[in-house]
């Protein structure tokens, strides 16, 4: 009988700890499929963050390390500089990448470090129970912005892709979403390209995946995906913000 659907080899056959309706499972699968399809699982070394994906080291079947909060790109740099023949990726959330780890993010991009960064933006700190993130939207109610994010008090959410695209360094910076089938398919293409870039030695490739957090947003999974479309994507538009090689080809 023909197999039409199966678990990617790069994803371990273990129960994930994520909440019901959480898109981390989808994003894990997309990363694992990319590793499988490019045949790089045996060469891959993944860097897990601090946050909801902290236990990603148990879920991917490649070699893994767990980095301090926000430091994944620095840890990945250390690995890649020692073992350039390996494929090194980080998997980070918005608190990890865009708040405490912003310096590591910006500077690894500026160095055009030949690594792949998967950045899951769900506009909230999930693991600690739903606090305001650097990407929480204006007015968004969280545990630490109980009256809604007041931009006059705590500033504006950060658009990571737009900011990194101003740098000379990075090769590829793109934003995708996983709120519907079409977007998931495009997210897969972007993630695969981000790994392909590393194989070809092109340099720093970051895929921001706009995601949802039904539990901490206080929504049903269905409603949360609708909120991605209605509220998240207008502030964080899908698109390719930098693609140096493609831009060169056009010229």
């Amino acid at each position: 009988m023909a197999v039409v659907f199966q678990k990617p080899k790069s994803l371990a056959d273990v129960p994930l700890h994520y909440c019901p309706g959480c898109p981390h499972g989808i994003i894990h699968r997309l990363v694992a499929e990319a590793l499988d399809e490019l045949g790089i699982e045996g060469k891959a070394i993944g860097v897990a963050p601090v946050g909801c994906a902290v236990m990603a080291y148990d879920y991917f079947t490649c070699d893994m390390i767990e980095a301090p909060h926000g430091r994944a790109p620095a840890v990945a740099t250390g690995i890649k500089r020692c073992r350039p023949e390996n494929i090194v990726f980080t998997y980070q959330g918005d608190g990890d990448l865009a708040s405490i780890g912003m310096a590591e993010t910006v500077h690894s991009a500026a160095r055009n470090e030949n690594i792949t960064v998967i950045f899951v933006n769900n506009a909230i700190y999930g693991m600690t129970g739903g606090q305001m993130a650097p990407t929480s939207l204006p007015g968004q109610v969280t545990q630490t912005s109980p009256y809604g994010r007041d931009v006059n008090h705590c500033g504006w959410p950060i658009r990571v892709c737009e900011m990194l695209a101003t740098l000379e360094g990075p090769e590829y910076v793109t934003r995708v979403a996983v709120n519907n089938v079409k977007n998931v398919k495009n997210a897969k293409k972007a993630i695969k390209k981000a790994f392909q870039n590393q194989i070809e030695g092109k340099g720093f490739s970051l895929v921001e995946v706009v995601s949802a957090c039904p539990t901490n947003w206080g929504m049903t999974p269905q409603k949360a995906l609708e909120w991605v479309e209605s509220d998240m994507l207008p502030y964080y538009p899908i698109g390719v913000y930098k693609d140096r090689s493609a831009a060169k080809e056009e010229k």
């Binding site: 079947t61 490649c62 390390i65 980095a67 430091r71 620095a74 250390g78 690995i79 500089r81 020692c82």
Partner: protein, 353 residues
């Protein structure tokens, strides 16, 4: 063949690291240790290595963490305020049991402090610094020669025990020049089956990690790690004894303070004061047995330190508080003169501790 050269202490560390097979250095500039980075920036690319200036001390120690996790011999260096920033990473590296060499060329503190020599990071180096139960092997060079030899030794001990070796130097030893000899030494290699190298589809994945959410597992990991530390405490203490055979007063000092103290011991002997010196070379593991043995025969101890008195606590503990312990100290970047130390020995001779 052995090679004799005139070198700065900081450069001796860098050259010794290269001779020990270190090809990866990640750092961030800070006085008074920047010569190490400069030397590495110049030399490493010529020998197929990587020098990378990180965006911060925090990033550099995490680059070291990643590099160490691949089983690669790696180092970083900094000075006191920079080591505070690296302490998060030190705790993770210790909690993941991967080897690395970290150099602290100490300056006065706390805070931004100053840039003159100090030994006031003794507590930070020997008692933790970062969070959690962990130890580092702490080596305290007292000469440019030892900056080199202890760097080589430090790499070896780190690999042998999968621990951090810290070179706890001070601004004086880092900045001064002395002739040193580089002996041709065999660099031992160690199996690292835990290293991140890619599974190549041939083995189960390796995980380098310090997270254990089940408390019984984390406890077991801590107990296991401390069994290793006990072996280090048994096998690795190093110290030097000077004129201790008939000593009635034991001076305890490390690093640059020990050189001043040695002069004071000689001067005291000329006055008929039977002084001797114990110089800890490893600050952790502290040479407890040497201090315990001394406590049986001397009348008292004088701890000479460039701090407000940190090692003195270990001197009291190791000597079982059997004899009085005086403190002779300067702080904030000041160094005691041999006369100041001699004066404390004269007092000790009169029983004034």
């Amino acid at each position: 063949m052995a090679e004799r050269v005139l070198m700065k202490g900081n450069e001796a560390i860098a050259e010794a690291a290269i001779r020990a097979g270190c090809r990866h250095y990640f750092g961030y500039p800070i006085t008074p240790q920047t010569e190490i980075a400069a030397y590495m920036a110049k030399k490493l690319p010529k020998v197929g290595g990587i020098f990378l200036q990180a965006e911060s001390e925090i990033a550099s120690i995490n680059m070291v963490y990643g590099a160490a996790a691949t089983g690669t011999r790696v180092m970083t260096s900094s000075s006191s305020p920079g080591i505070s920033l690296k302490s998060e990473g030190l705790s993770y590296i210790a909690g993941s049991d991967v080897p690395a060499l970290v150099v602290n060329v100490q300056r006065g503190g706390p805070g931004l402090g100053g840039i003159q020599p100090s030994q006031s990071d003794y507590f930070q180096a020997t008692k933790g610094g970062g969070h959690g139960d962990y130890r580092m092997i702490v080596l305290a060079p007292a000469s440019v020669q030892e900056m080199a030899s202890l760097t080589m030794k430090g790499f070896d001990l780190a690999d042998k025990y999968n621990m951090i070796s810290m070179i706890l130097a001070d601004g004086t030893i880092g900045q001064m020049m002395e002739p040193i000899t580089f002996e041709d030494a065999e660099v031992a290699t160690y199996e690292k089956p835990w290293a991140l190298t890619g599974t190549e589809g041939k083995r189960k994945h390796n995980i380098v990690n310090s997270l254990y959410l089940k408390p019984d597992e984390l406890e077991a990991k801590n107990f296991e790690r401390f069994e290793k530390y006990a072996i280090v405490e048994e096998n690795e203490p190093m110290w030097e004894e000077y004129m201790m055979e008939d000593a009635e007063i034991c001076v305890v000092a490390f690093g640059i303070a020990s050189r001043v103290a040695k002069n004071a011991v000689v001067a005291a002997r000329a006055e008929g004061i039977k002084a001797g010196l114990i110089r800890p070379i490893t600050l952790w593991p502290f040479p407890k047995k040497a201090l315990a043995a001394a406590a049986e025969k001397v009348n008292g101890f004088v701890s000479v330190e460039l701090s407000m008195g940190q090692m003195i606590e270990d001197v009291r503990l190791a000597s079982g508080c059997k004899k009085p312990v005086a403190l002779c100290n300067r702080a904030g970047g000041m160094i005691p003169s041999p006369d100041e130390v001699l004066e404390s020995l004269r007092k000790a001779q009169k029983g004034e501790y």
